[in-house]
């Protein structure tokens, strides 16, 4: 017999709230995995709040959510939803899995219908509920469209609507922000926040630290263990008065950051347009401008700490500034021609133009970023430039090799890191390195030297015999980078190189890239982490197959500031403002044409 729920209240918040879900000492291992996916995790979700479940890929977020939804059974520990076993409370549970759980061959309306029936929503309430949900999600115009033909953001809203046909007490959202552009993510956040007013307890899992910052309470998960729990401000607070912003220095910003990160009093640093943001080690004084020895113009100002600073702090700080990979790399001879060039590059798929009139020239030794929502045409542009897709129109060249006439030479001069790290999962780490050395036609002695260097630099020594498919994501990413740079190419193509990776590994990655760029390597990168766009010298914002804005990150932020009137917009603000402006422009022009 299920026991009656004891009156259960939240722990230390001022005003006691009802606990909707409670997990105690959860342990869960999977067959074939060395370490448990969860090693003793306890947590609660309270009514009317958004609880954030934060951590890098593979931290155990999905396992924890599935345990809460009763889809998995814990090896040890207990889950209680409103005091009952999850299987007894399915009526009170709304669960949105990572892939939204929609039927792509049913229409929006049919999906809603199905879930309404499965959750036994009274027939007479259908119309009213659907009307409310369709308005809430702004999908009313699309109710007869097949779910498979919706954009990622719209699918996600429909997935949310399907879990809301009968208002649940607990909502479990598994990485609702993944693979969705910042605009849709913001809209979704606003919708979910609206739900808390109805007393629903929401668990929102995410790898985006900026989302974590907005939660009422956060559980920080890493490798199956909790690193932190509490209001996000508590974690951010650990970095209080330890964040500074340095600007006006003379050397190139990448060289300045490298040098600065090697200082003992600096724990972490990132590039922010023309300035550099630093996290000081605990107990160190704010350094003077002179101590950076970077010219008279150097200014030091206090910065606002973020959740990410707290995260890095709790993990023991970011990597040092000097990249062993870059130290080992050849110096690319100077060349006045642009390393990567696109002129009117266009690609059509039937009647659909995936990329139109792409125009840019990237000088040697710079990082150029392609930003944009999913499906905007970033990857198409990218694939044309690395010779994987033939352009329908226009001219493209890599290291002076015309893509139409000498695509093979163009490909030989670049290193390519594909989305999701294209490694051979069934081959061991050593075999992957051997394969790529062979594929890039390295001589035997060169191959051996390159392989040894990569093993040393990326710390792969004790993983050589592991299948690369079984590596943790961070190691996969390192191995993928190692394979892409073994032949020391003058040009690097990186397609979403840091997605899903924890912030420390991301920083290590950018340390290497910064070092390589100082050696004269040219980098073309796509990313959906807006703060990473700050590492780029120039970025191009791609939307609906066209470049809607191009310039330095600071210029784009200024441009967005002029549109919205915001004082100090972040890169993400800029992204959203510029895309909205483009939509508005399109709408007005469209209306005029009609």
């Amino acid at each position: 017999m299920p026991q009656a729920a004891p009156p259960d209240t939240g722990p230390d918040t001022g005003q006691p709230r009802e606990v909707i879900a409670r997990a105690t000492g959860l342990v869960k291992s999977f067959k074939g995995a060395a370490a448990p996916a969860l090693a003793g995790v306890s947590m609660t979700v309270e009514a009317g709040t958004i609880t954030g479940l934060v951590g890098p890929d593979g931290a155990g977020k999905t396992t924890l959510i599935r345990l809460l939804a009763g889809l998995l059974r814990p090896d040890q520990g207990e889950v209680a939803i409103l005091g009952q076993r999850p299987a007894m409370m399915l009526d009170q549970l709304g669960y949105m899995p990572q892939r939204f759980g929609l039927y792509e061959d049913l229409t929006v309306r049919e999906n809603l219908d199905l879930y309404a029936e499965l959750r036994a929503l009274p027939r007479e309430e259908h119309e009213e509920t659907f009307a409310r949900l369709l308005e809430f999600t702004d999908l009313a115009r699309f109710q007869d469209r097949l779910a498979g033909n919706l954009s990622g953001g719209m699918k996600q809203k429909l997935g949310l609507a399907c879990t809301l046909v009968r208002t649940p007490r607990l909502m479990l959202l598994d990485e609702p922000g993944v693979g969705v552009d910042p605009i849709s993510r913001r809209e979704l956040w606003a919708m979910v926040q609206h739900l808390t007013a109805q007393g629903i307890g929401i668990l929102w899992s995410t790898a985006y630290l900026d989302e974590a910052e907005k939660c009422d309470r956060v559980y920080l998960l890493n490798e199956g263990s909790l690193l932190f729990e509490g209001p996000p401000g508590d974690l951010t607070g650990r970095a209080e008065e330890r964040v500074i912003q340095v600007s006006g220095f003379e050397p190139r910003r990448r060289r300045f950051l490298t040098r600065t990160l090697d200082r003992p009093d600096i724990m972490d640093g990132t590039i922010q347009g023309r300035s550099v943001r630093l996290l000081l080690r605990d107990g160190c004084d704010v350094p003077t401008a002179e101590s950076f020895a970077a010219g008279d113009g150097t200014q030091v100002a206090p910065g606002v700490p973020r959740f990410e600073d707290g995260f890095i702090e709790i993990l023991g700080g970011g990597p040092r500034g000097t990249s062993a990979l870059a130290e080992n790399y050849r110096t690319i001879p100077r060349d006045e021609r642009p390393a990567i060039e696109a002129k009117g590059l266009t690609r059509n798929f039937g009647a659909f133009t995936a990329a139109r009139d792409m125009d840019f020239a990237i000088p040697q030794g710079q990082i150029y970023g392609l930003l944009g929502p999913n499906g905007a045409g970033k990857s198409t542009t990218f694939k044309m430039l690395c010779g994987l897709l033939t352009p329908s129109e226009g001219y493209g060249a890599v290291a002076g090799n015309d893509l139409r006439r000498s695509a093979a030479e163009a490909r030989a001069s670049l290193g390519y890191m594909a989305q999701k790290f294209s490694l051979y999962g069934e081959l061991s780490v050593a075999q992957n390195l051997d394969f790529f050395a062979g594929a890039y036609n390295l001589g035997r002695a060169d191959a051996r030297r390159a392989k040894e260097a990569m093993i040393e630099i990326f710390d792969l020594g004790d993983k050589l015999d592991m299948n690369s498919g079984a590596l943790p994501l961070g190691f996969k990413q390192r191995l993928a980078l190692a394979c892409a740079v073994m032949h020391q190419p003058p040009v690097l193509f990186l397609d979403e190189p840091t997605s899903g990776v924890d912030p420390v590994t991301r920083r290590m990655f950018w340390t290497h890239i910064n070092g390589l760029v100082e050696k004269g390597v040219t980098v073309l990168v796509t990313t959906h982490f807006m703060d990473e766009a700050e590492y780029c010298d120039d970025v191009s914002l791609i939307y609906r197959g066209e470049q809607i804005a191009t310039g330095t990150p600071d210029a784009l932020k200024a441009q967005a500031g002029a549109i919205t009137g915001a004082a100090d917009p972040t890169m993400e603000d800029a992204f959203i403002a510029l895309i909205e402006a483009s939509d508005l422009d399109r709408e007005t022009n469209g209306n005029l044409a009609a």
């Binding site: 009763g70 892939r99 499965l118």
Partner: protein, 386 residues
């Protein structure tokens, strides 16, 4: 003020709800109608199979191409060669020498060479038993056996007609006149069409069911369904019923085409047809469900469905190959193929009529297999992702 909120009523364990089942079935039908591949398997494939077996593939040996080399120019030799030309089993190519015929045999243009030798007429005239030579292409053993025995038969009946003294001694005292019951013309079409009905029902029952359940796992919709109050029984029923109906519809289509277009006799009753078909669909659907619950992957499920149901139905059910002519240990395996019990029943139903004494044991065995597979699939399916 700090009054504990009323604990909400537990929704309790899941109970069967016909409303959820209806919603799931409506969804399934919408998917069937919209998915071109389902339609292809359920409608286009049966038609293709029927026309293939009805017209293109025939196991009858009619009009086999043979060379007749006549080295003798006597009247009996020409008469015998005429008898071969008149046989419906052969399409003869008259030739003057063996070398030419051998050339055609090597290039597989003919299946046999019949040689009427130089002294055929002389032997006959002298009262000796004349001899002919029959050379067959051993690389196609079945055809070779047919052709050899037919060629001999033609020779013997010709000799008997001629009233050959030497032959008469050897002629049997009793005349055997074979009669084939129920399929008097021995048309292979008449047993191939019931066989293709078995194949079609296997495809829909096992392959489609295996695919659609695995698809729910692959596309992540299963995860979402498991988080609703849907019970496993409702889920299974929502997968079984639509494909059961689809398979029966497809079977009906095959029967109508078989009778209307191919002139197949239908001597049994519709009731028997649907009872037998339903009995067979239990193991077919059960196996499909078991495969997809065990693999959760469309590719693996389709491979396993082909190997464990489609091929045995094709090869080991007596559909194409006679079971009694298989090696004993393979015959033993055929007892584990549900279609083995379907095809004789269907053949009886079409060609003879309702013989319930023959149907009932087969129906019982098929239902037994069905229960086994359903039991296995409930055993491997749990309401969790573990």
């Amino acid at each position: 003020m700090n009054e504990a909120p009323e604990p909400p009523p537990a929704s309790g364990p899941i109970r069967f709800s016909s409303r959820r089942l209806r919603a799931m079935m409506a969804k399934e039908f919408a998917q069937i109608v919209r998915d071109p591949s389902t339609f292809l398997i359920a409608l286009a494939m049966p038609l293709l199979l029927l026309f293939l077996f009805g017209y293109a593939v025939s196991l009858d040996t009619q009009g086999t191409r043979v060379a007749v080399v006549v080295e003798d120019s006597s009247a009996p030799a020409l008469a015998l060669s005429g008898a071969y030309a008149a046989s419906p089993y052969f399409h003869t190519l008259p030739m003057r020498n063996r070398a030419e015929a051998r050339h055609l045999m090597v290039s597989s243009q003919i299946s046999a060479i019949i040689v009427i030798p130089q002294d055929f007429g002389k032997d006959l005239h002298d009262g000796r038993l004349p001899e002919i030579q029959i050379v067959t292409d051993g690389s196609q053993p079945n055809t070779a056996t047919f052709v050899a025995s037919h060629a001999q038969g033609v020779f013997q009946s010709w000799a008997a007609n001629e009233g050959m003294p030497g032959m008469l001694d050897k002629a049997p005292q009793i005349e055997l006149s074979p009669r084939f019951w129920y399929n008097p013309a021995l048309k292979s079409r008449n047993f191939l069409v019931p066989g293709s009905i078995a194949v079609v029902m296997t495809m829909i029952g096992t392959l489609l069911t295996a695919l659609v359940v695995a698809r729910e796992w692959e596309r992540g919709t299963m995860e979402a369904l498991l988080a609703t109050p849907l019970s496993m029984a409702e889920f299974v029923a929502s997968k079984i019923l639509p494909y059961y109906l689809l398979a029966l519809a497809s079977m009906s289509l095959c029967t109508v085409i078989g009778v209307a277009i191919f002139g197949l006799p239908f001597r049994g009753s519709l009731l028997a047809l649907y009872v037998i078909a339903s009995a067979f669909l239990m193991p077919a659907l059960g196996l499909g469900l078991f495969i997809s619950s065990a693999t959760k992957n469309q590719f693996v499920a389709s491979q396993m469905a082909l190997l464990s149901s489609f091929l045995p139905t094709f090869l080991l059910s007596g559909f194409v190959y006679e079971i009694s002519s298989m090696p004993v240990w393979i015959q033993a395996i055929t007892y584990a193929v549900p279609a083995r019990y379907l095809i004789p029943s269907l053949q009886t139903l079409f060609l003879t009529g309702d013989i319930w004494g023959h149907f009932l044991p087969n129906i019982a065995i098929m239902l037994g297999f069905g229960f086994l597979f359903f039991f296995l699939s409930f055993w491997v399916t749990r309401r969790s992702l573990d």
